[in-house]
């Protein structure tokens, strides 16, 4: 298959909705079968909205997960996150359970699969098939090395036994990626991945487990599967025997980065719902949005969304530009974005008051997204797993890279610069001493030293990086493992916050020739850096004028454009 250059992805006309958003239509139109109310009703029933599934199948969403070299539309991770964002704006269950799950299931095959497996999976996804990733077991969670499902050599193939639980989409999947133990030795070479073609495995050798019901994302189908000596051909093995951990460590960098960016759609809906409410509702003789507390909550949520987009977009682009570092960056994004989102939603809930928990009416969608978020955040690497992945990787850049490595090239941050197609093979499974993202901080501090607002803020960030470096160097080896004390987890949080600040600075520095005056201006940047320095434990610092940020928020709400960096028109 030849690859066509095509137009650079981010250059699509921002005045036109994304085609998928266009198909989803106006979420507030009661006659739209894909309205918020329709998704709410489906959620109450605990089932994916059939019209939503049909729309994704008609759109051919599966092609978004297939690399371009295999006939699909996947080329850039940041672009994929933006394609999925309209889905998460409506319904996380559909976005994950009939959307992103296919990336989670297929990424290890793109990373390590044989040409035959890649072709099979590509054909299946391009034809609208569904997939599932059976990696976890309830007893061992994300401690994948402790997984017990076993594949034993049998003749010229394998025999699979044991139970995989809490597996999204498994009963509907046409292909399932399974992680299984293939060696008795303790350590990291005793697990392998298998690609099961569900049309050809003998069904009498597997049994689907009853569905697990959930508090949020009620419509997703979390199931399980029990294998009873299920025979697999030799060709089912993905990559090398004993190679599962390596493949998964590569593949999950992509899934973590893309999911962080995709799920921002949900915060967009929350902020839009509450901004509209606060603008219309009057209290004490004025709109709620003019009350300082409410205005601060709305502005803060908008800033947090922009911070989260800077971080997730940069990390997605780093998969292409700095693939030696994304084993550190991807868990930083997957840790921080849900945290920022949760806190923003909580403060928006205060503005909404009693309507934040009503399950119907104009703001009914809010409580659904609020309930969905904790479930969605845990799906595929929760906060603790991400922190535990970050901690052991910190001492090396602390020792060799911070204050030494030069800043990353501008293409990392230029949101409209096309990148080479995503190449899973280039992703390193542990971070190099080449932290070009954090290197933005001391560099920006130098450049912005004379700026009365940004100068002091960058100074604080550089101070925090220096302290983090000293703390990381003092980290004992044992505290750099999942057995770390809470102290180690706090270092991971500080790293993620500094990465977010560096991403904001990089995005601002390298997009100043774009037409959008808001992105060029420093108002959002100063507000973002201030919020991040406060999270890092600094005092409130220089006064930051957020009036322009609030004005942008209300204008985007009126114009019906997205609250993210690109600010594309919505349906």
């Amino acid at each position: 298959m030849t690859t066509l250059p095509g137009p650079p992805p981010a250059l699509a006309d921002p005045d036109l909705p994304h085609p998928l958003e266009q198909l989803l239509g106006d979420p507030l139109d009661p006659d739209n079968p894909l309205s918020y109310d329709a998704f709410l009703a489906a959620d109450e029933r605990g089932d994916l909205l059939p019209a939503g599934r049909a729309l994704l199948d008609a759109f051919g969403l599966g092609a978004e997960f297939v690399p371009r070299a295999l006939g699909g539309r996947l080329r850039q991770a940041d672009e994929l996150a933006r394609v999925l964002r309209p889905l998460f704006r409506r319904d996380g269950s559909l976005g994950l359970g009939h959307g992103a799950i296919n990336l989670i299931a297929s990424a290890p095959v793109w990373s390590a699969g044989s040409p035959g497996q890649r072709g099979l999976l590509a054909d299946l996804l391009l034809a609208g098939g569904q997939t599932a990733g059976a990696y976890t077991e309830l007893a061992s969670g994300h401690d994948l090395v402790a997984s017990k499902v076993k594949a034993a050599r049998q003749g010229r193939g394998w025999s699979l036994s044991g139970r995989k639980e809490v597996i999204n989409n498994v009963t509907r999947a046409h292909a399932v990626t399974v992680l299984a133990r293939t060696g008795e030795q303790p350590g990291s070479r005793s697990h392998s991945l298998f690609l099961l073609d569900m049309d050809s495995v003998p069904r009498e050798r597997l049994r689907f487990l009853p569905r697990f019901r959930t508090s949020g994302l009620r419509a997703i189908h979390l199931g399980g599967v029990e294998f009873d000596g299920c025979p697999l051909p030799e060709s089912a093995l993905i990559g090398d025997e004993g190679g599962a951990l390596e493949s998964v460590l590569r593949a999950f960098q992509v899934t973590k980065a893309v999911l962080s960016g995709a799920t921002l759609g949900s915060l967009d809906t929350q902020l839009r719902t509450v901004t509209a409410f606060a603008t219309e509702r009057r209290l004490y003789g004025r709109p709620v949005s003019e009350l300082p507390h409410a205005r601060a909550a709305l502005t803060g949520a908008f800033i947090d969304l922009l911070i989260a987009d800077c971080l997730s977009t940069t990390v997605c682009r780093a998969l292409h530009v700095l693939p030696r570092m994304t084993s550190l960056y991807a868990p930083a994004a997957k840790y921080l974005v849900p945290l920022l989102t949760q806190e923003a939603m909580d403060s928006l809930a205060v503005v909404l008051g009693a309507r934040s928990f009503l399950r119907e009416g104009a703001q009914g969608i809010f409580q659904k997204h609020l309930r969905d978020l904790p479930v969605g955040s845990l799906a595929h690497s929760g906060a603790t797993v991400c922190q535990a992945t970050i901690i052991p990787q910190l001492p090396r850049p602390a020792r060799r890279s911070w204050f030494v490595t030069p800043p990353a090239p501008s293409e990392l941050f230029r949101i409209d610069a096309p990148l080479d197609d995503l190449d899973f093979q280039r992703l390193a499974i542990t971070a190099a001493a080449d932290d070009g993202l954090l290197a933005v901080l001391p560099d920006a501090a130098e450049q912005l030293r004379s700026d009365p607002v940004l100068g002091p803020l960058c100074g604080r960030l550089t101070d925090s990086l220096r302290v983090l470096r000293d703390d990381c160097l003092a980290l004992t080896p044992r505290s750099a493992t999942p057995l770390a004390e809470p102290w180690g987890f706090e270092l991971a949080e500080r790293y993620a916050l500094l990465a977010a600040a560096a991403a904001c600075l990089g995005v601002w520095q390298h997009n100043r020739d774009r037409p959008d005056p808001f992105l060029r201006d420093t108002a959002w940047l100063a507000a973002a850096l201030r919020r991040l320095t406060v999270r890092l434990g600094h005092g409130p610092g220089p006064d930051v004028d957020t009036r322009a940020v609030f004005q942008e928020l209300t204008e985007r709400c009126e114009r019906n454009t997205a609250f993210d960096l690109i600010g594309r028109r919505l349906a």
């Binding site: 090395v145 303790p186 350590g187 992945t389 052991p392 990787q393 542990t430 080896p477 493992t481």
Partner: protein, 93 residues
Amino acid sequence: MTSSAPEHDRLTPPDPQELSDWLRERVAYFVECPVTDIATDVKLVEYGLDSLYALTLCGDIEDTFGIPVSATLAWDYPTIDAIVGLLAAPRQS
């Protein structure tokens, strides 16, 4: 405190004894026990070195001894003796 060994910038294989001593010290530091308790023929995983930490150990070897090392070295060569055998051998691929 990072490591007691001096940092080198060299492409020649390290001295086997020096590498072995350094690895024993790292493992002892990790498991918080006297270095004399660390045997060179016991698998690192049995001392509790988990998968991710084993990956970072390779970065430490690279930085300390100035030789490029595959990230999965400690997965594939699971004892100190095995690592020394690979890295300190006069010729390796």
